[in-house]
């Protein structure tokens, strides 16, 4: 792809070390981003396939100055056009993009990641559905980079109340074919004529809607709520651990 391929690498600490940005810079850059960049890149910087502005590692730029240069000059031969931003304005957009990476990095008060890891792999039983760095089940969402994707508050909410927000990519479907076979699984992608899932046996299954007798999304998340099952300290430990998971690209 032409685009700036982004994965997870640069951390807020390292980033802010390049340039000191004030909250006012971030605010100003956010305004410029929302009125100039969102049209193509989307609110979260992920609207163009293969590009993820919110997570900080850029194929064509590593320093803030390089990023600002791209914002001003565009990338010839790609749909990224030049702009008429001043250097100062481009810098504020960089500040805003860098702040997105930092948004998910606040530590959880009192959480202990090591204890959380033990909980995740032991008593919590999380690996019976979730996978981290190659260990655990694939039935639930792979959490290897969850710390880069979601805020601590968001993760905590999922632990305490999994039904509060079920993201479209984490929905489960139950389908019965015309010859009576039943499939339950997490929906990977859905289209007009078919649905592609990873089923309860971790198999990739492609179903044609024309061959289905019944087909429905499960209203509730298959994930159990841990409200009342884990103490506040245990939840904080677990969130702290999950926040350390940034994906292989970050290593």
């Amino acid at each position: 792809m032409w685009a700036i391929r982004v994965s997870l690498a640069l951390w807020a600490g390292a980033l802010f070390a390049q340039h000191g940005y004030s909250p006012a810079d971030v605010d100003a850059g956010g305004r410029l981003y929302r009125s100039n960049c969102v049209n193509c890149h989307g609110q979260e910087g992920t609207a163009i396939q293969g590009v993820d502005l919110g997570h900080g590692k850029f194929r064509r730029a590593s320093t803030d100055d390089e990023l600002a240069r791209i914002i001003i000059n565009g990338i010839p031969g790609t749909p990224m056009p030049p702009s008429s931003f001043s250097q100062a304005q481009a810098d504020t957009i960089v500040a805003y993009l860098r702040s997105l990476v930092g948004a998910g990095t606040a530590t959880v008060a009192g959480g202990d990641a090591a204890r959380g890891k033990a909980m995740f792999e032991g008593k919590g039983g999380c690996r019976s559905c979730h996978r981290v760095n190659g260990n655990g089940s694939r039935v639930g969402p792979d959490l290897s980079e969850i710390g880069a994707l979601r805020s601590p508050a968001n993760i905590e909410q999922s632990i305490r109340d999994p039904n509060a927000e079920i993201r479209p990519e984490n929905r489960y479907v139950r389908a019965i074919t015309r010859d009576g076979a039943t499939f339950t699984g997490r929906v990977l992608t859905e289209d007009t004529f078919g649905v592609q899932i990873i089923d309860s046996h971790e198999k990739l299954v492609s179903l044609s809607k024309a061959n289905l007798r019944e087909y429905a999304f499960l209203k509730d998340s298959p994930m159990p709520s841990f409200r009342g099952k884990l103490s506040a300290q245990e939840v904080a430990d677990l969130v702290s651990y999950l926040e350390t998971l940034k994906g292989v690209d970050a290593q």
Binding site: M1, R31, S35, N39, G74, S84, D191
Partner: protein
């Protein structure tokens, strides 16, 4: 003698296209060809071909594919002239190929200025032809004439300055000896216009500003100096009625898009259809769909001209499914409003009054915290063309339903060449392109091909899509309807009842209108998806 006759035949076969304006006007008499953007100047996207039928359409088979050397969306509708297909590889390469085999004859590669800054992709929607000359409007706002036989440029003129935000994405329209285009750039604070150029020389013949200047009628529909940067783009091709000698064009949104208090008034001729004299560019009438648009609704459709019996007498009408969610029937002799009804979920207006003016819903405006309004920013439909079949009498609309945006009120300050639009609306549906892995909730909006009876505005049938769609619609003389979707399918429906008859997986988002042509008595259906143009025929 025999050899000489053979040589003559070979020579005749290689003669360049000679497309007189008379042929463009009577395009319906040569159904094997597709001579202008919408197939004919009436804009119906209806093919008189009928070899492919509801009974045999299941036997469609891929004949060839042309892969563009471009990662931009493939939005062009090809032209086909006597066996040669002409299309545009984004941004601005003209390609001539054998319409029966897909083999390329020539490529004319134009490199647009790096100063070009289109809001929504460096795309191109196709070409126009007159005589043996092709015309392309470029993303850096130039108009280029190209020899249809060998791909050599004949003239190349500046229509407007790209560094000021002007761009062109539309296929030009040929009327008589002139080539008519309009400028995009409404998100960059341009002052839009439609202009005609002499086909032979590229000399400008007339220019119609889509925003009236100081002292002109309508200028007072813009507060202060807001008219100077009020946008009013032209994104798609117009239509032409040879009997009335009028050319009709849809005009885009006023700018800044979502910050409307700086441009008090109705903001003429934004969001209008304008009827112009093609010889002079003089305005004959206009109809405004969305006065003082707060939502970027545009009037970004090809006007569809139809002859129909209207309450007992024949009438020359214009059909229009607007991005604002309403479907309109106008009398195209004078712009009189005949009928208007919502074709999708609409909350910004409570209805249309007896003259077709929307009755704004109280409080339905962008707010600092964001205001959820249907249809969302991309509209109930968009630039991708609808189709009208004079056989079924139905109007086929590719639409987005149950789709909203949260419209946000934010600052907008004009600076040349920079986005001048206000704060971007928020929506769970991506604006331009779907991700490869598609997984959204139906309650966040979906797409459909929906058939309406234009005489009543009544829905006849619907074919529902799990994703929204950027595909146009083609109807044919065998009552087939072809369209596609963001999920990479291309399909044929029964135009009478919406039944699915055939489908193919093309693997890429369909962002163009399907079209049909024939070569050697064989009917083809062509459509682009992803960055590839596909052509199908019966096996």
């Amino acid at each position: 003698m025999k050899l000489r006759a053979l040589l003559l035949v070979l020579a005749a076969g290689s003669l360049p296209a000679q497309v007189s304006f008379d042929r463009l006007v009577h395009a319906g008499q040569e159904p094997q060809n597709w001579l202008s953007y919408s197939g004919a100047l009436h804009g119906q996207r209806y093919s008189p071909l009928n070899q492919i039928t509801p009974q045999n359409v299941k036997n469609l088979e891929l004949q060839w594919a042309f892969q563009a050397r471009s990662v931009e969306k493939f939005e062009a509708t090809p032209l086909v002239v006597d066996g040669t297909l002409y299309t545009v590889q984004a941004p601005n390469d003209v390609v001539a190929l054998d319409a029966a085999t897909g083999r390329v004859f020539w490529v004319y590669s134009y490199k647009p200025s790096p100063q070009s800054r289109p809001c929504c992709g460096k795309v191109n929607r196709g070409l126009a032809i007159l005589g043996e000359t092709l015309f392309m409007a470029t993303i850096d706002a130039r108009l280029i004439a190209i020899d249809a036989a060998n791909g050599h440029p004949l003239w190349n003129i500046e229509v407007a300055k790209p560094e000021a935000g002007y761009a062109m994405t539309l296929a030009p329209l040929v009327v008589k000896d002139k080539v008519i285009v309009g400028t995009a750039g409404g998100e960059y604070g341009i002052r839009g216009f439609i202009a005609a150029y002499e086909a032979k020389t590229g000399k400008e013949a007339w220019r119609f500003y889509t925003i009236p200047g100081k002292g002109e009628p309508g200028n007072n529909t813009w507060s202060g100096d807001s008219w100077m940067h009020g946008g009013a783009s032209v994104w798609v091709t117009g239509a032409y009625d040879p009997d009335l000698n009028l050319t009709y064009w849809g005009v885009g949104n006023p700018g800044p898009d979502w910050t409307s208090e700086v441009r008090g008034g109705d903001n003429l001729y934004s969001d209008c259809v304008v009827a112009l004299d093609p010889d002079t560019g003089k305005l004959k009438w206009y109809f405004q769909f969305t006065p003082h648009d707060d939502f970027d609704y545009d009037a970004v459709q090809v006007p569809i001209l139809a002859e129909m019996d209207w309450k007992g007498s024949p009438r020359k009408v214009m059909l229009w499914a607007n991005r604002n969610g309403f479907f309109y029937v106008l009398d195209r002799t004078n712009g009189q409003f005949l009928l208007g009804k919502p074709f999708t979920k609409v909350t910004w207006a409570t209805g249309l009054d007896e003259r077709g003016r929307p009755m704004r819903a109280p409080g339905a405006v962008p707010t600092p915290e964001g205001n959820k309004i249907y249809p969302g920013n991309m509209g109930g439909t968009n630039w991708n063309s609808a189709s009208y079949s004079p056989r079924t009498g139905l109007f086929y609309i590719p639409l987005w339903d149950n789709y909203y945006s949260e419209f946000v009120k934010g600052p907008a300050e004009y600076a040349e060449g920079r986005i001048y639009a206000g704060a971007m609306p928020r929506s769970p549906v991506p604006m331009i392109q779907a991700p490869q892995v598609q997984n959204r909730k139906e309650e966040d909006g979906y797409g459909a091909i929906r058939a309406f009876d234009p005489k009543t505005g009544e829905k006849k049938w619907e074919f529902k899509l799990s994703e929204v769609t950027d595909s146009g619609v083609l109807s044919t003389a065998s009552d087939l309807v072809f369209s596609g979707g963001r999920d990479g399918y291309f399909f044929a429906l029964d135009g009478r009842n919406g039944e699915l008859l055939w489908k193919a997986t093309l693997g890429g988002q369909v962002s163009s209108g399907p079209m049909s042509y024939s070569v050697g008595g064989k009917q083809y259906i062509a459509v682009s998806a992803g960055s590839t143009l596909f052509s199908y025929a019966l096996r």
